[in-house]
Structure formats: C-alpha cells, structure tokens
Homo-oligomer: 409 residues x 2
C-alpha cells in the first residue's frame, strides 16, 4: 500500500456517503454534466479562498490571478470579480481575459516568447507587458511607436535568489525568464527615456512552496531587491509584483502553507521597506493556491479486474485530463494525489487497488496501490486539488479521447 495526498478540508458526504461539491451530490453533478469524466469547481470555495488571502495579507497588497492555472470561462469570470488584476501568459489568454469582466488596465502579460502580434494586441488593449528581455523591450517600443500608443511596460526581473523548497524555481542563476537584476536599471532608464509608461517590476522567484518562512524570506529579498533597483534607477516603481509561491498539499506528508504567517511577515517587510518604495504598490500573483483546492475531477469506473493478484480499477478518465496527477508533469518520482471513492466518501478503506485511466499506456495511473473502500463498475472516483493545472495542462486529444466536461457550481 502506498499513501495518497491529504483530502482537502471542507469536503464532506451526505447521509448516503456521497461526496458533496458545492452542496451538490457528485453523482447528480455527473448526471447534470451529461458525461464523465468532469471537473467540478466550487465557487464558494473560490470565494472563501480569496477572502482567506485578504484576511491574512496586509490590506494594501493587491491580489492578481494567474489565469494559466485555470482559464475555464465561468471560473475566470468569477475570479475576475474578486481579484485586483489578471496575469496572462499568451495572446490567447489575453483574449479570454478581455471577456472576463476585468478592466484591461489591470491585465498584465508575462511570458518569455511573446510574438510581435501578441505584443501588439496587448499594447492596443492597454494591458501591461512584463518584459522578459532587452530584445523584447525594443520590439515593444517599436510596436508602440508604430501604433502611436504609449506602451505600458513593466520589467520582469530575474532575481539572484530562488524560493527555497519551491516545486518550480523561477530565479537564481541563468533563466529564460526576465532580465538579470544587474541589467534592469539600465533597461528601465531606456524605457523611461523612450517615453514608455513604466509600470514597475515583476519578480517571480518560484512556485508551489509550502514553507511560510521560505516564502516570507523570498518576499523580503524581493522587496529589498526592488528597493535597490529603485535607487539605481532613481525612480520608484509604481507597482512591485512579488510573484506567488504559495503551494497546495498534493502529496502524503504535505501540509497547507501558513498564509497568516506569510501575511504577518509581509506586513513587517513592507513596514520596514526602503523609503524609495514608499509610494509603490505591491501585489501578489497567485494561480494554483487560489483555485486548486476548489476543483474535483470525477471519473467513473468502467472495469474492475485482477492481474497477478493485484486489483485494478479502470476509469473513463486518465492522464489526458490529469497529467500531473499521473506523475508525468514536473515530478521525478510518482506519488499519489489525494483520491477517494466519491460514492463512499469517508468510508474506511478495505482493500489496496490501483486506479488507472482508460489510455493504453502504463503511464496512465491515477492512484498507485492506494487503500480505498470497495469500489465497482459504475462508481465514481474523485481526484482532489484538481482546480489548477488539470484540464488545460493535460493532453486532452491523446488517443482520441477529447476534453473533460467542466462546470462551476
């Protein structure tokens, strides 16, 4: 038997033992969707998550949603109502963000491979470009000049530090992201000289960290770096985007990040900040932490079989919707995501089984030798922490399967 990740708090069953998502029964949600597998996103959990963040953080820190985590239209619209800005990572995301209800002045675009047409679309829309290189800065200035529009430009800084314990390091050493911090002052001065509307810094040192102290330390380093850069430039950044970094517990032994501790430390950091940043605004940009926990992936068991004494539950879902949960995206060693039998939610485990997807590849495993209540053909399996980097971060066309249903409840 191998352990699975912790089931997120806040999920419960009705008297029949059926998992409830947004107060609705999992089986009825599947019926309403018309097919399995499906992603269900709980709007009340999203709202609560934003509220929890605001309660924990200094009141003047802005919250941006990195929509790459989950761009599903209804969810994006819900988030846009609650957050202070959207971060997009492509021209496609920019188009979606512009229909979300968020004012384009609060949309920023980061990403190392922006094409000219994407830069042009952002400048025309009045979104802020987080510049990733001197070359991109030149292209943005030239396109702004050609259009006769003053571009809103921020500089993404590649910091010399990374976020300790983060699942993905975005700073510290040679990176494709941003401009090495030593070259930032000269670049910002060029932007100012060219008459651009300089928006400030975007400094993203890592993501998916669970250690509040490490996040706090990185934020302190980030604010200090912004202060040093402001001195060197001679002008204060209007906005310092501190990046994100808050992770969620996917795996056995993981526990939730202490956001209250992060917020307290950030308050102290900002209170003691360099006077050069006195008038700067600060933002955090979060994706996964805001939306992962509100999402559940429901897939139906289509076969139960035994091979060489091991029991397999074969589902109609799989890695084509849950690439990361299958252990094939960003992880070296496969570990089990939080998983449950949705129609026996909370029941004691009685057997060890492997839950596999319907794809004809040994990579397609959603739960490896997990202890579960008895489950049979027709039952529903739930994979948790499915609200981020699920539907769009998986190869949905693989083996002709196609995308899963999605619904916001």
């Amino acid at each position: 038997m191998k352990p699975h990740g912790p089931i997120p708090p806040g999920f419960a069953a009705d008297a029949d033992g059926m998992l409830l998502i947004g107060d609705q029964r999992a089986d009825e949600l599947a019926d309403a969707a018309g097919d399995t597998p499906l992603f269900v996103y709980d709007s009340k959990m999203l709202t609560a998550r934003v509220a929890a963040w605001r309660a924990a953080m200094p009141h003047d820190v802005q919250l941006h949603y990195a929509m790459k985590a989950n761009p599903y239209g209804p969810l994006l619209g819900h988030m846009a109502m609650m957050v202070d800005g959207l971060d997009v990572a492509s021209g496609g995301e920019l188009r979606a963000a512009r229909t979300s209800g968020m004012a384009t002045g609060h949309i920023s675009f980061a990403g190392p491979g922006k094409r000219d047409r994407e830069i042009e679309a952002a400048i025309k829309a009045g979104a802020t470009l987080n510049l990733e290189s001197a070359g991109e800065a030149q292209r943005a200035l030239a396109i702004g000049a050609r259009l006769g529009i003053v571009p809103q430009l921020a500089v993404r800084v590649n910091p010399d530090f990374d976020l300790k314990g983060s699942g993905m390091k975005m700073g510290g050493g040679a990176k494709p992201f941003g401009v090495d911090s030593g070259e930032v002052p000269a670049l910002v001065r060029r932007l100012l000289d060219a008459g651009a509307d300089w928006q400030g810094f975007h400094i993203f040192a890592g993501s998916q960290a669970l250690d509040a102290a490490a996040i706090a330390e990185t934020q302190a380093q980030t604010v200090a770096l912004a202060g040093r850069l402001a001195h060197e430039i001679g002008t204060a950044p209007p906005l310092v985007n501190l990046g994100g970094g808050l992770g969620v517990p996917y795996f056995p032994g993981d526990s939730a990040v202490d956001v209250a501790a992060v917020g307290r430390a950030l308050g102290e950091t900002l209170a003691a900040r360099d006077p050069a940043l006195a008038d700067s605004r600060f933002a955090m940009e979060l994706g996964r932490w805001l939306v992962a926990e509100a999402g559940v992936y429901l897939t139906r068991i289509v076969d139960r079989k035994t091979s060489h004494g091991e029991t397999f539950l074969v589902t109609d879902g799989g890695l084509h919707h849950q690439l990361a949960a299958s252990g094939n995206f960003g992880t070296v060693i496969r570990r089990n995501y939080p998983i449950a039998v949705a129609n026996r939610f909370g029941a004691d485990p009685v057997e060890t089984v492997s839950v596999v997807g319907c794809l004809c590849t040994p990579l397609d495993r959603l739960g490896d030798q997990v202890a579960l209540p008895r489950a049979d053909v027709g039952d529903l399996v739930a994979i948790f922490q499915a609200g981020a980097y699920g539907a769009t971060a998986s190869p949905s066309a693989f083996l002709g399967q196609g995308p899963a249903q999605e619904m916001l409840v």
Copy 2:
C-alpha cells in the same frame, strides 16, 4: 554542452543550408502553413518506411498501424492505403479510422477502459474488440446480444514476459492491460460457447525497444505462448497480433533497430511454430516506428537572450506540442531529442545554447545546452522524430497557446 539525439538519415539541406522536408524548404513550408510552429510529415518517408518493413519481414505477416501514434487525418489516410489494418484505442479513434479508407473489418480496438457506448459502436461497425478483461468480455457479449450482431472478439493477453529494454513495458506481472495468460483459455472457450466470432490474440509485451535480439526473443516467446494457448483452447487463433516494440532513436547513443534481423528471426520463429498455429495469420502492430521519423516540428525563434552568461533561444513552440521532447512524458531523466537550426542545417556548431519554449514554466525546454550553429530571431528550429506522439500527446491548450499547424507533404 550536452549532446542531442541523432538527426535521422534522409534529411538534407539545399544550397542555402535550408532544411528540406519532402523536397520542400522548411521556410517555405512555414510560409505555406501560414504560421509557426508546425508539424510537417513527409509522405514519401512514410511510404518508404512501410516498404522497408515489408522488405524485412516474412511476406505473410500483416502490418497494422496503431493510429494513437499520429491520428492526423491526411497522414492516417496515407497510412490506411498502405497497411493491412488499423488499431484504435478509443471511440474517437474508431470514428476517425472509419473515415480513413480502411475497411472496418480490418480495424481492431484495444484499450483498458472501453465504455459501453464505445463497445457498441465497434460491434455495430464490425470492428474487432481486443478484450481486456473477463468483465469487458461479458459486456461485449451482452451488447452484441442486445444488438443482434455477432461480435468480433479477440483476447488481449497479458504475457508473463516483457520486452527487454523497452521504453514501456506492457507485460510481465500485474498489468491493467489484457487477461493474464493463465485465464485466457477459459475465457476464449466462453466466447466460443457464446457464439462470438473469435478473432484470436493480441499480445503486446512492450514498445520503444531498439535491440533486435530482444524484440526477436519476445516475438519467439509470443508465438510460443500463442501455441500453448491454442492447445489449451483446442482451437487455433485466426490471427495472432504480435504487438509492436520497434523503437526509434531519440537520444544520444541510440541507434536504429535492425529490422532485417528482426525479420529474419521472425521468419525462423514462424517456420518452426507449433503445428496448432499452422493456419493462423500473424500481424505486427506498429505506431511510432512507422511515423516518428517522417515528422519534423518547426518552431521560430522569437527572442535570443543571455542570462548569467548562458544563451537562450526562445521559440514560439514548446512543450504544449512536444511534451516528450521537453522531457516531461515517460522519461525520468531529461535528454535532448535530435535538434537543428533548420536554416543552417548541417552547418558546424559554433555555440552552446538552450532552446526553450514560449511557456512561462521552467519545464518548457526543447534543447538543453546543445551545440548549434549561430541562430537569431526569425530563424527556424527543427525537432526531429516528431511524427509520433507529438501533436496529440501534448497539452496544446496549456497557457492558451492552442494546437500547432500540421501538414502532410
């Protein structure tokens, strides 16, 4: 500097140093597609590959194409003209196969999570179901009875051996695929007693092997297993699908599998086979080996930048089209696929660079510290062995990017 995989033979440049694919210049192909990135598949190389297989193999062995490797419509139609059967892995692939020109009597459907509606569609179409379990067999018989159609059923066998050195082991021990070999005779007798049209065995021990001797040994074991099963059943299988297993060289040090040696050994194996299999037909089912080499992924450089002394070429493509090449699908340690600067093809390398995609994640790396000729913004990078498990095996919706162009030339 880290090495990259071997450039497949058969690719050359014109006098300008421009890579040719199907005798057409890479830059002109990109122009014709209207956008980058794009997958280009060379129909002549596909044709030559099938011919090479037929020249190497005993003349009475059939060739099936496993369309999961590449289901692009024009390519599928081209393959359907040349091979003896198509293997599909879902109802979606079945629909595509039925429009490919292949007679449905030569379509077989394998996959561990077939839904009732998929089984029904296959039976109605007259395709063969490769049964993965006793439970699936019961469902297929019941659906056939309900429809009043005698179902064409083969049994996928989980062999007790695997393919040595294969990238993916599909046999040997507990597996979600097929029926443990010891339980196959009783299941086949039940199918025969129920009046099903029993089509034989599907025995797939592994894929992506480069060692001809290992493949030959596995094929000998497979034929021996089919013979033992035929004795135990008392009836000869009409067809024995020997699976595939032939790999392609992706990585430094890989070399092409010696198909002539595989063919010679298979000829000897079949000549010496159990008399119980005297009237059985044999097939190999290949995906990757048939189509990988004929495909090239072309992506344009949109930025060239330096960070802490390292040079990055940032492209408009990435892991959203080339998940396996980025090292995030089925590999533990990332190694470089074959890669070149398409417009300086064959030129001597002059610098060490990393080629990254446009996604805002450190996972998006197409070439890590590879030695390449000088390349600048606007140049085209080619990733080879891109004809299999590329476009559909990658998360094309990730970060709002969308699918790549595809073309058959």
